[in-house]
C-alpha cells in the first residue's frame, strides 16, 4: 500500500514535468515546412514535379534540421484549406508552401494570415500578393508575374516591327491573366490588339477562331495556352495559311509541346523562367549554377525530365529558408515569435539567386523578381534556342 502511495507521489510531479516538457515541445531544434501540392486532379501536371522536388530540398539550415510534410489537395481549394489547417494545427509547421493551382493557393492565403504563418505561393497570380494588405503580408510569391513574361514577348514584337497582334487564349484564369497582361503591355508599346479569341482546353477544334484571326491578318499572334493543348491552335493557324510569327506563353515550356507539335511549332517564340534553359544560359547568369544543380538532382532522383513547375517549389524553399538564420535570433522554431521573425527576415531578402530568377523582397513588393527572371526561347528545328534580350 505504502509503496503504491509513494509511487503516486513520485509519479504526479513526474507527470507534471512531462506535461511541462510537452507544452513547449513545439519549440524545437527543427524547422518544419508544410507543403500542399496538387498531386492528383486537373493540376497534376504541375503538382507531380513539385512533389518530386521535395526529396532534394535542403535537410539542414543554420544548424537546424528541416523536416517536410507534403499533402495532396487533389486540385480542390476546400481540400487545400483543410490540408493547410491540418499542417498548422497538428504538425505545428513554421512555413507553408503551396499549392499548384491558383484557386487553392488563394484559399490558403487566408489560413496563412489567420495563423500568422509565413507562406510561399507557387502560382504566378498577382492577387496572391497584391494589394499587400495585412493578410497578404504573410505571403511571398515565387513564380514570375504574367506582366514580366508579357513584357519580354511584347519587347520582342516591337523590336521586330509588329504593329498589330491577335490574342488566342484559354477562357479560364490562365487566358484571362495573360489577356490582361498582354493588353497592358501592348498599349505601353503602341501595338494594336487586333482581335481577342478564346477557346477551351478540351475543345476538339479551334478552326473557327483561327479563321477569324487569319481573316483579320495581324502581324503576329499570341497564343495563351499550356502544354500539348497549345499545339492545336497553332496547327489550325498554320493549316489556314498563316505564315507570320506566332508567340506562345511560358505554359508551353515543356519538350512535350515540341514532341506533339513537330514542324508546325517550329519558329515559335515564348518566354520562360531561366531554369528551363539552364544549360544554354551564359555563365554570368545568376540562375545558371542553381538551375543546373536543380536539374541534375531532380533527374537523378526521379529518372524523368524536370519541369519548370517543380523548380518553383525549390525556389520557395530557398526563399523561406534564407530567412531562418536571422529569425533564429528572435525565437525558437515552432513558436509564433519565430514565425513572425521569419516573415520579417524574408521581407529583407536581397539578391537571392534561384532557379527562376533573383529575388529581392521589400515591404512594398512580395513578388521580388525583375527582368532576370525570364528569357525568350525560339524553337528551331525541334530544339530550344535562347534569344538575346531585345533592346
Amino acid at each position: 500500500m505504502s509503496s503504491k502511495r509513494a509511487s503516486s507521489k513520485v509519479l504526479a510531479p513526474m507527470l507534471g514535468a512531462a506535461l511541462m516538457a510537452l507544452a513547449p515541445a513545439a519549440a524545437r531544434a527543427q524547422i518544419h515546412i508544410g507543403i500542399v501540392v496538387s498531386e492528383t486532379g486537373p493540376a497534376a501536371a504541375l503538382g507531380v514535379p513539385q512533389k518530386n522536388t521535395v526529396a532534394q530540398l535542403p535537410k539542414e539550415i543554420a544548424g537546424q534540421t528541416v523536416e517536410y510534410t507534403v499533402l495532396d489537395d487533389a486540385t480542390d481549394p476546400t481540400k487545400a484549406v483543410a490540408d493547410a489547417r491540418k499542417l498548422v494545427a497538428e504538425d505545428d509547421v513554421d512555413i507553408l508552401i503551396g499549392s499548384s493551382a491558383t484557386p487553392a493557393t488563394l484559399a490558403m492565403v487566408d489560413v496563412a494570415a489567420e495563423t500568422k504563418t509565413p507562406y510561399c505561393a507557387m502560382v504566378p497570380t498577382k492577387s496572391t500578393v497584391a494589394p499587400l494588405d495585412d493578410k497578404r503580408r504573410w505571403v511571398f510569391k515565387a513564380p514570375q508575374d504574367d506582366a514580366i513574361m508579357a513584357a519580354a514577348v511584347f519587347d520582342h514584337m516591337k523590336a521586330n516591327g509588329v504593329k498589330t497582334v491577335a490574342f488566342l487564349g484559354y477562357t479560364d484564369g490562365y487566358g484571362e491573366g495573360w489577356l490582361t497582361a498582354a493588353k497592358a503591355a501592348a498599349k505601353e508599346r503602341g501595338i494594336d490588339v487586333a482581335g481577342v479569341e478564346r477557346f477551351q482546353r478540351t475543345d476538339t477544334s479551334v478552326n473557327a477562331q483561327a479563321l477569324k484571326i487569319v481573316s483579320a491578318n495581324p502581324d503576329a499572334v499570341l497564343i495563351a495556352a499550356s502544354g500539348t493543348v497549345a499545339v492545336m491552335p497553332q496547327k489550325a493557324l498554320k493549316e489556314l495559311g498563316y505564315a507570320k510569327p506566332i508567340y506562345q506563353t511560358h505554359g508551353v515550356s515543356t519538350m512535350e509541346f515540341v514532341r506533339v507539335g513537330g514542324k508546325d511549332v517550329d519558329g515559335t517564340i515564348f518566354p520562360a523562367g531561366p531554369v528551363v534553359v539552364a544549360s544554354l544560359l551564359p555563365d554570368s547568369h545568376p540562375s545558371k549554377a542553381v538551375g543546373l544543380a536543380y536539374i541534375k538532382a531532380y533527374e537523378a532522383n526521379n529518372k524523368t525530365p524536370f519541369a519548370a513547375f517543380g523548380a518553383h517549389l525549390a525556389d520557395c524553399a530557398s526563399i523561406m529558408l534564407n530567412g531562418v538564420k536571422a529569425a533564429l535570433e528572435k525565437g525558437k522554431p515552432g513558436t509564433p515569435e519565430f514565425r513572425a521573425a521569419l516573415r520579417d527576415a524574408v521581407e529583407t531578402t536581397r539578391e537571392l539567386p534561384a532557379n527562376h530568377g533573383v529575388y529581392t523582397y521589400s515591404p512594398a513588393d512580395h513578388s521580388g523578381l525583375d527582368k532576370r527572371s525570364r528569357v525568350l526561347i525560339e524553337i528551331v528545328g525541334g530544339k530550344w534556342t535562347l534569344l538575346p534580350d531585345p533592346k
Binding site: 492528383t40 486537373p42 497534376a44 501536371a45 507531380v48 477562357t171 481577342v196 479569341e197 478564346r198 477557346f199 477551351q200 478540351t202 475543345d203 476538339t204 477544334s205 479551334v206 478552326n207 473557327a208 477562331q209 479563321l211 477569324k212 481573316s215 502544354g227 500539348t228 493543348v229 499545339v231 492545336m232 493549316e239 515543356t254 512535350e256 506533339v260
Partner: protein, 347 residues
C-alpha cells in the same frame, strides 16, 4: 462574312457534330438498354485516342495493364458472388475471359508495339483493348445495381467517370498526345479546302450508324437489345438475358468510343480528361432527342456541331455557354409538350 467563311465553318461544324453524334447515339443505346446515363463515355474516347498514340510511338499502352486489372477485379467479384455453386465450366469461363484474355492482349501488345506494325494493326489492337473494358465496367459498377432507380445508376455513373478519369491520369500521365491522320492531305471543295481526315470522320460515322441500323434490324442479338430497351421484364419473360444484353450494349459503347477517339486524335490534342466535354456535348444531343431516338440524336449532334462552330467564330468566349444553354428551351418544350415525366420506377 463571306460565303467562303460560312462554308468553312459549316464543314468544321459538321465534322465535330459527327463525333458528337457517335457519342450521343451511344448514350441513347446505353440508356435504353441499361437505364444508365453513362457520363463516363468520354473516357473511352480519350482512352481510345491515347492507346492509339502509345502504339504509334511503339510503347505498350497503359490500357493493356488496366484491362488486366479490370479483369482480375471482375473475376474476384464473380468468384465471391458465386461462392459454393461454382461449376468447373463457369470457373473456366471466368479464368479464360477475365484473366487469360487480358493477359494475352497484354502479351500481344508487348510483342507488337515495339515493331510499330502500322495504322491498321494499331487500330485493331486499340479496339481489342478498349472493347472488353465496356462489359467489365458494367459488371464491376452497374450489374450489382441493375435493378436500382435511374438516379442511383446515374450516381454510380458519375463515380465511374471520376474513377476512369483518375485511372487515365495514372496510366497516361497529364500531358496530351496527337495521332497521325488516317489519310493525310486536303481536297478543294468549292472555294475552301477540306482535310481528307474530315471525310474519314464522316465516312466512319456513317458506317457505324449504318452498322448499328443493320445490327438492330437484322440480327437476333440486336433485336434482343431492342426488346430489353422496350421492356426489361417482358424481354426476360421471352428468354432474353438482360445482363447479357447490357454487356453487349457496353461493349458496343466502348467500341464506338474507341473509334471516336481514333477519329478525333489526329484533329486535336487528346489528354486523359478531354473526353468528358465531348461526351457532354453528345449528351446534349441525346437529351434534345429525348434519350430515345437515334436519328434525332444524330441530327441534333450535327446541329450542335454547327452551332458550336458559328458561335466560336462570332463570340468565342461564350461558345460553351451558347452550346449548353440550348438544352434549356428543349427541356422546357419537352416538359410542356409531354407533361410530367412518367415515373420510370413503375416500368
Amino acid at each position: 462574312m463571306s460565303p467562303t467563311i460560312l462554308l468553312f465553318l459549316a464543314q468544321d461544324g459538321v465534322m465535330n457534330g459527327a463525333v458528337y453524334a457517335l457519342l450521343g447515339v451511344t448514350l441513347v443505346l446505353l440508356f435504353t438498354v441499361t437505364r444508365v446515363i453513362f457520363v463516363a463515355q468520354g473516357a473511352f474516347v480519350a482512352w481510345g485516342a491515347l492507346t492509339m498514340a502509345a502504339l504509334e510511338n511503339g510503347a505498350v499502352p497503359g490500357t493493356a495493364l488496366l484491362l488486366v486489372g479490370f479483369g482480375l477485379a471482375a473475376a474476384v467479384v464473380d468468384l465471391l458472388r458465386a461462392r459454393g455453386r461454382l461449376s468447373g465450366r463457369r470457373l473456366g469461363l471466368i479464368a479464360g475471359r477475365d484473366i487469360v484474355l487480358p493477359l494475352a492482349l497484354l502479351a500481344l501488345d508487348t510483342a507488337l508495339a515495339p515493331l510499330k506494325p502500322g495504322m491498321a494493326v494499331d487500330v485493331l489492337l486499340t479496339l481489342a483493348l478498349i472493347i472488353p473494358m465496356g462489359p467489365l465496367v458494367y459488371r464491376l459498377a452497374f450489374q450489382p445495381l441493375a435493378d436500382a432507380s435511374v438516379l442511383i445508376l446515374f450516381i454510380a455513373a458519375i463515380g465511374v467517370h471520376l474513377a476512369m478519369t483518375g485511372l487515365g491520369l495514372a496510366v497516361f500521365g497529364a500531358e496530351g498526345s496527337r495521332i497521325d491522320p488516317m489519310v493525310a492531305g486536303v481536297v478543294p471543295v468549292g472555294p475552301i479546302v477540306v482535310k481528307l481526315q474530315s471525310f474519314a470522320v464522316l465516312g466512319v460515322t456513317a458506317a457505324v450508324m449504318a452498322g448499328l441500323f443493320v445490327f438492330f434490324e437484322r440480327t437476333l442479338l440486336g433485336k434482343a437489345l431492342r426488346a430489353t430497351a422496350v421492356n426489361r421484364l417482358g424481354a426476360r419473360l421471352v428468354g432474353v438475358r438482360v445482363d447479357g444484353a447490357a454487356r453487349t450494349a457496353f461493349a458496343l459503347a466502348a467500341g464506338i468510343g474507341a473509334v471516336s477517339g481514333v477519329l478525333i486524335g489526329p484533329l486535336t490534342t487528346v489528354a486523359y480528361d478531354t473526353g468528358f466535354l465531348i461526351g457532354l456535348k453528345g449528351f446534349v444531343a441525346a437529351i434534345i432527342a429525348g434519350l430515345a431516338s437515334y436519328p434525332l440524336t444524330a441530327l441534333a449532334a450535327v446541329a450542335i456541331g454547327l452551332l458550336e462552330s458559328y458561335s466560336a467564330f462570332f463570340a468565342s468566349a461564350f461558345k460553351e455557354v451558347i452550346v449548353f444553354s440550348i438544352i434549356i428551351p428543349f427541356l422546357l418544350w419537352r416538359s410542356f409538350a409531354h407533361g410530367a415525366p412518367a415515373d420510370e420506377e413503375e416500368e
